[in-house]
């Protein structure tokens, strides 16, 4: 789950009379300002929760003289399910790699018109031409998350556990000191991928024998873990109940921000294990049902400008595939390997491919065994 922040604007009216007057004025203003010509310039964006800065949206709206309407989802399955159920009218969507592939195969995406995207050159070529969309016919890289190790800096100093390897998550000799203070993601694919990586296999390995090896590794480590957790571990890290997690880079960034804000006296740091990790690249794609491909292209090109692309990273600590954004990103964030992995680390990162129905079923059974034993 992506970290989320909700901003609610609420105006309290002191007296009923004032309220009524304001209501009438607002009604008049509404009638006067929304002529049909204005109302049509609307861009519909279907996005993750808290996955774009409000400042960025406001600047785009000012620049194009249009309105951006956002709808939100909290995981790819949800988004795919909603589209499969017939949701239409979205100009832009921000799916993760394997969901991009799924949408391409379903033939519901509109090919990009690259002549309208002069800023495309800002994207680091390392992030282009992914296996999901060779030649980037449909997708423009937006931001990425790495699944890695997050830890409490003070506890790490006191207990001296290693953070450069998945061993600390899976090996009882390290876990003994951490019993009940570790959480791992409640995600079949992510946890299995960590196990496979530790065993020296690819995160996308589909050999059942290798899966069973990873299962045994997980079952051996399980008694030391507090929980499988994909949402509340951010808070537990911040409070200091949990000291070590297998989690998403932007969640760990969020936990660190919260810990600093609360002046906890410790930091929540992230580390990419040397065996490698899972990388999730989210891309902007155009849905065929969107009525305004012109605005959508304009928005993509706008988001490719360094300053606009940087705002998201500054907000949630997401990885940024945009070279021009570097200059605008706060230096302490830009220095983090979890946000900007080096070239050597990048070669160890893998994007998850989709599994077919039989593989999903086998994995689900392995997962049930893991949870039950």
């Amino acid at each position: 789950m992506k970290s989320k922040k909700q901003i609610s604007l609420r105006q309290d009216c002191c007296t009923a009379g004032l309220c009524r007057t304001l209501g009438v004025l607002a009604g008049l203003w509404f009638l006067l300002s929304f002529t049909p010509a204005h109302a049509e310039d609307v861009l519909h964006l279907y996005n993750w929760n808290n996955y774009i800065s409000d400042a960025t949206i406001a600047r785009f709206e000012a620049e194009c003289g249009c309105r951006v309407v956002q709808d939100y989802y909290s995981d790819n399955e949800e988004m795919l399910a909603k589209l499969a159920a017939g949701a239409t009218g979205y100009d832009l969507i921000v799916p993760t790699g394997n969901a991009v592939e799924a949408l391409i195969r379903q033939q519901v995406l509109r090919p990009l018109d690259k002549t309208r995207l002069p800023n495309l050159g800002n994207i680091d070529p390392a992030w282009l031409n992914t296996p999901f969309d060779p030649g980037n016919r449909y997708s423009v890289p937006y931001a990425y998350t790495i699944t890695l190790i997050g830890y409490n800096s003070e506890k790490q100093r006191a207990l001296q556990f290693p953070v450069d390897s998945w061993a600390v998550i899976f090996e009882p000799r390290y876990l003994e000191k951490l019993k009940g203070r570790v959480t791992v993601l409640d995600s079949q694919r992510e946890l299995l991928a960590a196990g496979l990586k530790y065993l020296g296999y690819s995160a996308n390995d589909t050999d059942e024998a290798h899966w069973k090896q990873a299962r045994d590794l997980i079952i051996r480590a399980k008694p030391y873990w507090a929980a499988f957790n994909a949402s509340s571990y951010i808070k537990e890290l911040t409070v200091g109940n949990i000291w070590l997690v297998h989690g998403y880079s932007n969640d760990i960034f969020q936990a660190d921000l919260d810990a600093q804000k609360a002046q906890r006296g410790f930091r929540i740091l992230a580390s990419i294990p040397k065996e490698g990790a899972v990388l999730a690249l989210d891309s902007l794609v155009l849905h065929k049902s969107g009525p305004r491909p012109d605005l959508a292209h304009r928005f993509i090109n706008f988001m490719l400008e360094g300053r606009n692309a940087a705002e998201l990273t500054n907000l949630i600590g997401s990885g940024n595939p945009n070279r021009a954004a570097r200059a605008y990103i706060r230096p302490e964030i830009a220095a983090s390997a979890a946000v900007f992995p080096g070239a050597a680390q990048l070669t160890h990162l893998e994007m998850l491919r989709d599994l077919d129905r039989r593989q999903r079923r086998v994995l689900s059974r392995i997962w049930t065994e893991i949870k039950l034993r």
Binding site: E77, E78, L80, A81, A84, A102, R105, Q106, G180, D186, S187, Q188, K222, P223, W225, A226, A227, F228, S232, V239, G240, N241, D356, R357, R360, R361, L363, S364, R365, W367, T368, E369, K371, L372, R373
Partner: protein
């Protein structure tokens, strides 16, 4: 004679009509909200999963597209003992929750039922007051109450430390799941028990006392048997929802707390395997029906006492 006959048939037609008018809406409700969804579920359990979630089409003329019906999913369910184990575990948790709820709810319901009439309404209101806040919020509150920094954990672990025992973690454990389950479902046990106990005739107890029965005998021979229908409906109201509950194990459970509800939820939201999720749901529905049937039979037995 003739007019009398027609009057009779007319009146019987009227009663038949009345019967249909009365039982029609609930029957319709049952058909639309139970039979129809169950039929959809049964059909879904025989279909193939769709590639991106949902179901593969029933009919397709495009070559290479998976379609039609299959027994594959049921074969998969019965191919491994593990799914039966998940069911058994869920039943045990539901049973434990029901028993604990009963033990906690019975004295409370009795206390309310025997209070002066004036204060009863207030006490019942207090029992249902927790419903005023959202169920998830209340379960999340237990995360704080059971967390390692909370007074409860600190106190228990301080006592354990006195005896040189290793500290325990209350949160993310089967214990936390049971606490959450009992907490959420307790009112569902209290209310039917109270409704039943309130109706008992106090004269019966007086008579028993006059015949020389002591307090325990009066409870065990009179009150308890009479409250059997209340116990059974309370038990059903607790047992059945607990059997399908997935949110509480998700939030409070640790690394081993998977119940059948979690497994079903995962098939739909995580694994994109609707046919298997449907198969599991059917098995669960059958299990619940079996329990309800058992309860109904026991309930009929209970009427001997009344």
């Amino acid at each position: 004679m003739a007019p009398e006959m027609s009057e009779k048939t007319q009146s019987s037609r009227a009663t038949r009509l009345a019967r249909w008018l009365v039982s029609g809406p609930p029957l319709l409700f049952l058909a639309v909200f139970f039979l129809l969804p169950s039929a959809i579920m049964v059909l879904a359990s025989f279909r193939y999963p769709g590639e991106f979630g949902g179901l593969a089409p029933l009919f397709s003329t495009v070559p290479g597209v998976l379609h039609g019906l299959t027994f594959e999913t049921y074969q998969f369910f019965f191919s491994d003992i593990i799914y039966v184990q998940v069911f058994l575990k869920s039943f045990l948790v539901a049973l434990a929750t029901t028993l604990i709820c009963l033990l906690l709810a019975y004295p409370l319901a009795l206390l309310i039922a025997r209070s002066p009439k004036k204060s009863r309404d207030l006490m019942v209101l207090l029992v249902i007051l927790p419903f005023a806040s959202n169920f998830l919020v209340r379960v999340y509150a237990w995360m704080i109450l059971l967390g390692p920094q909370a007074a409860l954990s600190q106190a228990i672990n301080a006592v354990l430390a006195l005896f040189g025992l290793t500290p325990v973690h209350l949160l993310f454990s089967p214990f936390a799941v049971l606490v959450g389950m009992v907490y959420v479902h307790l009112p569902f046990m209290v209310l039917p028990l109270y409704t039943n106990l309130e109706k008992h005739d106090p004269m019966l107890l007086d008579a028993a006392q006059d015949c020389g029965a002591n307090a325990w005998q009066r409870f065990w021979r009179i009150t308890f048997p009479l409250s059997m229908p209340g116990i059974l409906s309370g038990a059903a109201l607790v047992f059945i929802p607990v059997l399908g509950m997935f949110a509480i194990p998700d939030i409070l459970g640790g690394t081993g707390d998977m119940l059948i509800g979690n497994l079903i939820k995962e098939q739909f939201l995580g694994t994109r395997d609707w046919p298997f999720g449907s198969t599991l749901s059917i098995m669960l529905t059958l299990a619940v029906l079996a329990v309800a049937w058992l309860a109904a039979r026991l309930g009929r037995g209970g009427k001997y006492y009344a």
